[in-house]
Symmetry: C2
DNA sequence: AGCGCGCCTGTTAACGTTAACTTATTATTC
DNA sequence: GAATAATAAGTTAACGTTAACAGGCGCGCT
C-alpha cells in the first residue's frame, strides 16, 4: 500500500505490525521452530505487505555462513569457462547454494582483487579457475590458511587443504600431436603461445613431448602467436591471435603441413587465415584445436579437436568444495584428473566426415 | 607463525594483542581518523601476523553499503554479455566497486533467484542484462520499490526509478534488412527465432518493418529456427540453431537469396550449413549477422553484421547505477539508446574486401 | 494429582564492525 | 598564560539477525 522509500524493512518492523517479537518473525521467515499456524499466516501477510527482504549480511554474520560460493574465472567470454560454470552451478543449485562470479580478465591484480572481495564477503568457499600467478597464489594461500575452503580447477598451484580438479592436458596435447604425426606430418606448428609462456601450458608440453618421442625436432620458428602482451590485453582476442599466428607461419618459406592451435578459437582464426590464403584443409595444412567448443563441429571443414570433460570438472570442483564446506575443512587434499578425448573431424582427416555426426551428439552425463 | 584454523581473526583479537581498543584497529585498517604512527605500525604488524581479513558482512551491516554491485546476465559464454561486463567493470573499478556476476541461463526462475541472492547480500545496486520475463520483472519491481538502485541493459521493462540502456536494435535490424534489399534481394530469410517469440525481438521487428516499407511480403516459411524450447535449453547452442535453421531454408523449393541471422553465432552456423551444401556466399546466398563478435571479421567469407557499441552500453549502465547509488535514489529514470552500425563485409558484398580491414579496427572509446 | 512432553512465544546476548561522542594529551596562538 | 585547536585514543551503542535458553500452556499418561 504505502511505499517505503528510505530504510529497508526489518524483522523488528514486521514484528511491531504483527504484534509479536522479531524472533517469531524470524521463525516464520525461516520456517524453523514452532509457530502457530494463525500467527504464521499473520506474520507472512505483514511481511508480504511490507515487501520484506531479509538482510543477508546480518544473517551471514550471525550464522557464520552465507550459503554462497564464489568463483573466479579469467575470461567471461570463454566457452570453456562457461561450461565449467554450468557444472559448478548444477551442483550448487542442487544443494541450495548461490554462486557469485568474479572476473579477473586474466590479470594477476584482478585475480587477487576477486579473491579479496569474495573472502571479504565471507562466501562459504571459493572456486578458482584462473591461471596461476605469483601474487594470486600467495593470496590464495593466505585465504586457505585462514580457513576458507578452496577448490582449484586447472590451476598450477598446490596446497595441502585445497582440492584440485584438472584435465590431463599434457596427455591431450600429446595425443593431438601424435595424431598429426601418425597421419604423416613431420612439420607441425603450434599457434597461440610464446616459448617462455608455453612452459606453463600443459597441452604445449604434450606437443613437445610427442615430437620428442617420435624423433621430430622442435623448431622455434613453428611456434607462433601469443606475444606476452596479448595475455594481458582483453581487446586482443584469441581468434586474432590464431589468425595472426597462422599468417606468420604461412609466410615461412618452409611452412608446416599441420598446425596445433592452443584452443578452438585460435584454431578458428587459423582456419580462416589458411582459407584466405587459398589453401585447403586438411590437404595443404591439417589443423587441430583444443576444447571442442560447440562451434568446432560446425565449421567447414569441421574441426578436429581435443575434448575435455568440462562440465564434469566444474561439478567435481563444486562437489569437493561443498564436502569441505559442510565437513572437515582440514581434510587432506582431494585431486581428480579427467582424461581428454581426441575428437577427429575433417580438419585432419577428410574421410572423417562419417564420424562428425557422431561427434555432434550432446553429452548430458550426470556424474 | 601459528596457524589459526578455527575462528577467523577479528578486530578484537588484534586489539588484544596490540593493546589497544578495536576502534583503534578499525581506524588503522581503514586509514581513517587519527592514529599515532607508532600505534599504527604496531597494529599493522599484528594484523599482518595474524593474517587478518576484514569481515565484509559486519562492515556492510554497519555501514549500510557494501561497495559491491551485482550484475545478472543470461549466458556467460556470450561475447556480447562479456563485452558488456567489461564496460561495467571498467567503470566500477575506477570508482572502487566490486562486481559480482550471477548467471540466469536464460531462465526466469534463475533470473529471480539471482536478483534475490544479490539483493539479500545487500549489493549497492544491480545491473540486469537478462531478457525480460514476467516473474523476473515482478521481482525487479519489488526490489526497485524497496530502494535498490537498478540499471537495465536492453531489457524490455520500464520503471520510474530504474535507468535504462539499450541499443537501437529495431533500427539495426531495419538497416541490415534494407542493406540486403538494396543490393537486390527480394526473398530474405530470418534465422534463429520463432514467429511468436520474435515479436519481442527488436531486430526482428526491424526486419519486418523493412520488408513492409519496401513492399516485400513476409513469408512465414522463411523464418526458421528458434523452437521455443531452445531458449530454455542451455545445451542447444545458437550455432546449432543457425545450422539447423539454415538447413530448413535450404530444403525449400524456393529458397531465399539472403538470410538475416539473429546473431553472429547463429550466422556462423548458417554459414557452415551453406558451405556444406556447396553454395557460395554471397553469390548464392548473402548472409548477415548481428553483434560483430570478434570472430565475425575472421570467418571466410568475413561476415557482414551489425555492431552495437556494447562496451559503451556497459559503461553507461554502470555510470547510471553509480549516480543513483551515490546520489538521489529516487531520481527519475535516465535512458540512453545507442545507435547501431552496419558493418559490411564479404558475406553480402564480395567487393567489400577493401572495407574489411577498416572494420577490424578496435573501438576504445571512453564515453 | 502430578509428571513429562510437545507446542508456542519471549528474552538475552551475541556475530564483527564502525558512527558518534567523549576524554585526555599535546601543540599553537595571541 | 589562558584559550583554541589538533591529535590520539577510548566508550557506547547500534546495524539486523538468530542460537540458546526460559517460560507457559495444554494434553495424555500413570
Amino acid at each position: 500500500m504505502k511505499n517505503q522509500p528510505k530504510k529497508p524493512v526489518t524483522l523488528a518492523d514486521i514484528a511491531a505490525r504483527a504484534d509479536v517479537t522479531p524472533m517469531t518473525v524470524s521463525r516464520v521467515i525461516n520456517s524453523s521452530g514452532y509457530v502457530h499456524p494463525e500467527t504464521r499466516e499473520r506474520v507472512m501477510n505483514v511481511a508480504r505487505e511490507m515487501n520484506y527482504r531479509r538482510n543477508g549480511l546480518a544473517r551471514g554474520l550471525k550464522r557464520q555462513c552465507t550459503e554462497t560460493v564464489g568463483m573466479v574465472i579469467g575470461d567471461i567470454a570463454n566457452p570453456f569457462a562457461a561450461e565449467l560454470t554450468r557444472g559448478v552451478r548444477e551442483v550448487l543449485e542442487e544443494r541450495g547454494y548461490n554462486l557469485f562470479i568474479c572476473i579477473s580478465e586474466h590479470t594477476a591484480k584482478e585475480d587477487v582483487r576477486a579473491f579479496d572481495s569474495l573472502a571479504d564477503h565471507r562466501v562459504d568457499g571459493i572456486i578458482a579457475a584462473t591461471r596461476a600467478s605469483k601474487s594470486g597464489n600467495e593470496r590464495l594461500e593466505e585465504l586457505i590458511d585462514s580457513g576458507i575452503p578452496v577448490s582449484l580447477i586447472g590451476r598450477e598451484f598446490r596446497h595441502a587443504h585445497a582440492d584440485l580438479v584438472s584435465a590431463d592436458n599434457l596427455k591431450g596435447g600429446y595425443e593431438a600431436t601424435t595424431h598429426l604425426i601418425e597421419i604423416g606430418h613431420k612439420r607441425i606448428g603450434f599457434i597461440g603461445i610464446s616459448l617462455t609462456e608455453g612452459l606453463r601450458l600443459r597441452r604445449f608440453q604434450g606437443y613437445l613431448e610427442a615430437l620428442k618421442d617420435h624423433g621430430l625436432p622442435v623448431e622455434d620458428g613453428l611456434i607462433a602467436g601469443g606475444r606476452e602482451a596479448a595475455e594481458q590485453m582483453p581487446g586482443y582476442s584469441t581468434e586474432e591471435m590464431g589468425y595472426d599466428g597462422m599468417m606468420k607461419l604461412l609466410e615461412l618459406k618452409n611452412r608446416p603441413t599441420a598446425v596445433f592451435a592452443r584452443n578452438d578459437f585460435t584454431a578458428m582464426g587459423a582456419l580462416n587465415a589458411i582459407k584466405r590464403a587459398g589453401l585447403r584443409i586438411p590437404e595443404d595444412i591439417a589443423l587441430i584445436g583444443y576444447d571442442d567448443i560447440p562451434l568446432a563441429a560446425h565449421t567447414s571443414p569441421a574441426l578436429t579437436t581435443v575434448r575435455q570433460p568440462t562440465r564434469e570438472q566444474g561439478r567435481a570442483a563444486a562437489e569437493f568444495l561443498l564436502r569441505r564446506v559442510e565437513g572437515d575443512r582440514e581434510q587432506p587434499r582431494a585431486e581428480k584428473s579427467f582424461a581428454c578425448e581426441l575428437v577427429i573431424r575433417e580438419s585432419t582427416l577428410p574421410a572423417a566426415k562419417a564420424l562428425s555426426s557422431k561427434n555432434r551428439k550432446r553429452q548430458i552425463k550426470t556424474a
